[in-house]
Symmetry: C2
Subunit: 184 residues, 2 copies
DNA sequence: ATTATTGTACCGCCTGGTCAGTATAGTTGT
DNA sequence: ACAACTATACTGACCAGGCGGTACAATAAT
């Protein structure tokens, strides 16, 4: 009851925060700027997130929850040997096609403000890595798949020789084949 | 007077800056803290780097120059088909074994303060990616190698399920084999 | 009326950057 | 030889602006 009432404003705040980090850079994500972008006052922002760290924590958690559930959803349609690896590959590539990479944006915001905020992210990653290493295929191949997609993020996050669409499509296919050929 | 290792002040400043970012986080890399760590006054720091951006620029440039020359040095002993890819793989893995990953640390410091400071990094990356795509082997494989090692950085930078030594060694071998099997 | 939410005004701290001046070593003029 | 001057390296005190956070009044919701 209370939670449903809180939702809209809280989400507006989080969205505003994303927008700022993505378009203006992390340093411009001030609580006042967030308030302006969300169309409310600074006091209201602090009412919902009594500290900046709590806001960032919410950003990180939200995104990782989304990603994880999308991962699991994909997995159910997949199953079988190398299924989790296939899901990971598919989900990350899907994510990339849609808009900006909000995950790394949130990670960055967290890292800059307080590395402890990365904790939920770390926990998820441990789970994923574990799943990949026990996916009934060669764990080294599974790890290559994970790291390649992470590297894709990295390159886009920093804008360091980002991979264009055609090469990315080829990447997807080659990695997918790699998974299939690694089935025992 | 025996040659007392009296490093130039500029280097001491840069080293102090690295230390701070690496151990305390980016936010703690203030010009005052750098001065303290370097054992000089704040004014002295600004004497050598009239702005914080210039200091960070120096950090980024130095590291990328080092990396690039190490890359080329490795390449000379290598040559052949897929030589550049092999060099890239080797150099990054060597880098990882020694100390912390200062490259990404510098990148982060740059990104946080002013994305323009990434320019030299971008230029190098464009060159590298270009070399990899024209290495007389399947460019997709070459790119996978690059992105996997970048992903390795990423995971260490954020501490997200970093890869342990044994798996990393296996990664190296598998990637190396992948390069060889991609020779035409 | 009571509670939940939001606006306004403000505070204290930190940070990048400035500035006037100092110390020292080398150079020049006489 | 000696004073005057210059260049380089550095100090320490200071400032203006921005930021997270607070206090409290005002309004909206139940």
């Amino acid at each position: 009851m209370i939670t449903t009432q809180n939702k809209p404003t809280k989400e507006k705040i989080i969205e505003a925060a994303y927008y700022l980090v993505r378009s203006k850079g992390i340093t411009k994500m001030t609580m006042e700027a967030v308030a302006d972008k969300a169309g409310i006052s600074k006091g209201a922002v602090f009412y919902h997130f009594s500290t900046k760290e709590l806001l960032i924590e919410a950003m990180v958690k939200q995104l990782f929850n989304n990603f994880d559930s999308q991962l699991n959803q994909e997995y159910e349609n997949e199953g079988k040997l190398g299924g989790r690896t296939q899901s990971y590959l598919k989900t990350t590539f899907l994510m990339h096609d849609q808009e900006e990479n909000e995950l790394s944006v949130a990670l960055l915001a967290a890292l800059v403000n307080n590395p402890d905020l990365l904790k939920p992210a770390k926990e998820y990653y441990e789970i994923w890595q574990n799943q990949l290493e026990n996916d009934q295929i060669n764990p080294v191949i599974a790890t290559i798949v994970r790291l390649t997609t992470d590297g894709l993020w990295f390159s886009e996050l920093f804008g360091l020789a980002p991979i264009d669409k055609t090469l990315r499509d080829q990447l997807y296919e080659t990695l997918s084949e790699l998974i299939n050929s690694a089935k025992k």
